[in-house]
């Protein structure tokens, strides 16, 4: 069965959906940055994506709860190794039917998600091209990133950098925190933040497209499984994975190391320094 890759992708989308349900992203517009990377249009696109994702998450949560209960019942009934038992076969089919229901919800909601994610990606793409690509040289970009204190004694920037492989939900939760507190953020943080979100959106967009392709195949395979009345290890794994994403799993949390203790004396500034 080739459902596992599809499921993994779906799990990523769930995380993405949950993260975007956080409503306060819109507050980013309260403090406009000097370089306009998050104008109202981009924030509105983020809000829209958040709204669509919230709808998808709401629809999925009940199904996932049911999957959880059915899986528990299957295990408590000691059905592992007793697949021929008529009662276990019934439980297995119920579990498979719920799994199919989940795939159906994803199939129904993904086009909207794809549309809003693409809108956000395209908005950010335009801003990055205009504000950093065309208006800045590599030197001014460097100065923007360094902010007003290039001697290394400033506070650490956003604690998240690049696409570190952490779960999407955790990453977007951090995005939210950074954007929501943009009153204390400056251009240096916003440039990094916009880049991070854009690259994630770019990947997510591709992920959604691939997932939509996979759903049809996963549905077909599960329908075949229904006929045979079996529950696959992949399905069990997926239920656990989806649960961990929806209800929290700290195991995958990646904390970026803080700076080493800095030298406290005033830094020497050479007349040669640029």
């Amino acid at each position: 069965m080739n459902a596992l890759p599809a499921w993994r992708r779906l799990c990523g989308l769930f995380g993405f959906a949950i993260a975007l349900t956080i409503p306060a992203i819109g507050s980013a517009q309260d403090t406009a940055p000097t370089i306009r990377l998050f104008p109202t249009t981009v924030v509105e696109d983020l809000r829209q994506t958040s709204s669509v994702a919230r709808e998808m998450e709401t629809g999925l949560q009940e199904v996932i709860g049911r999957l959880d209960q059915q899986q528990l019942l299957y295990q408590e009934s000691k059905c592992d190794g007793a697949e021929a038992d008529p009662g276990c076969q019934r439980l297995s089919r119920q579990l498979g039917a719920t799994y199919l229901e989940m795939l159906g919800i994803m199939e129904e909601r993904l086009p909207d998600m794809e549309h809003t994610v693409n809108n956000t990606r395209l908005s950010l793409e335009k801003r990055l091209r205009s504000e950093i690509g065309n208006k800045m040289t590599s030197w001014t970009l460097q100065e923007t990133l360094l902010g007003g204190n290039p001697q290394g004694a400033e506070e650490p920037g956003p604690s998240m950098r690049g696409r570190s492989g952490m779960r999407l939900s955790e990453r977007f939760r951090q995005y939210y925190q950074l954007v929501a507190s943009s009153g204390s953020q400056n251009d240096q943080s916003l440039a990094v933040l916009a880049s991070d979100i854009y690259l994630d959106m770019d990947e997510t967009s591709e992920l959604i497209a691939r997932t939509r392709e996979e759903i049809a195949r996963a549905t077909l395979i599960e329908q075949l499984n229904q006929s045979f009345g079996t529950i696959t290890p992949e399905m069990m794994e997926v239920v656990g994975g989806v649960k961990s994403i929806l209800f929290g799993d700290e195991a995958g949390y990646v904390q970026v190391a803080g700076p080493p203790p800095s030298y406290t004396e005033p830094a020497y500034v050479s007349p040669l320094a640029q």
Binding site: L124, E125, K126, L128, R129, I132, G133, N134, K135, M136, T137, S138, W139, L141, Q142, E143, L145, L146, P150, Q151, G152, A153, E154, P156, G157, R161, G162, Q188, A191, V192, A194, S195, D196, Y198, L199, D202, P259, P260, P261, S262, Y263, E265, A267, Y268, S270, P271, L272, A273, Q274
Partner: protein, 182 residues
């Protein structure tokens, strides 16, 4: 008469050879050796004398020697010592002011000399992004030497390292956006 002419010719030849030998001695290059001391101030004094005495073409090597000596006695004050040495070299006309700035900033400043450019990122930086990042990586290695191992400026080096990662991320996103707009 023939014999007399021959003697005169030989004499002239001998004088010519002698003067050639003497002139060769006069233009023999100075030793331009590396300073043997481990004391940075003494080493700088030795290097300054050598540079003044015709060894200016060895400036790169001397600078490297001084960095190596400073690594043996790292301290924040070393930044100032190197800055003053470079200002002196520039004032003496041994290197240009631009070179002095590059020598200093490459090793002792958080900012990357590799990012110096007057043209916008879409048109200039993105087409050569790999090369720019490679130059930055090499420069970061020099900053590790100058900021960390010579000046004990941990915070400065940490910021340079962080800046490298930020530039890499922002350029990846920006160049993807630039490429999509074509």
């Amino acid at each position: 008469m023939n014999t007399l002419n021959r003697i005169n010719t030989l004499r002239t030849l001998a004088v010519a050879l002698l003067s050639l030998a003497l002139s060769a001695c006069a233009t023999k290059p100075p030793p331009c050796g590396s300073p043997a001391t481990k004391n940075l101030d003494d080493a700088i004094a030795i290097v300054q004398r050598s540079l003044d005495n015709g060894c200016a073409s060895h400036f790169d090597r001397y600078y490297d020697d001084l960095l190596t000596i400073a690594e043996g006695d790292p301290k924040p004050e070393n930044k100032r010592i190197f800055s003053e040495f470079l200002v002196w070299a520039s004032d003496e006309g041994l290197i240009s002011q631009r070179q002095a700035k590059d020598y200093y900033n490459r090793y002792f400043n958080v900012k990357f000399v590799a990012l110096a450019s007057d043209y916008n990122n879409c048109s200039h930086t993105c087409p050569r992004r790999d090369r720019v990042m490679l130059q930055m990586e090499r420069e970061l290695s020099d900053k590790e030497r100058g900021l960390l191992r010579v000046s004990l400026d941990n915070a400065g080096y940490y910021r340079a390292d962080e800046l490298y990662q930020e530039v890499e991320l922002v350029l990846e996103a920006t160049c993807t956006a630039c490429e999509a707009g074509r």
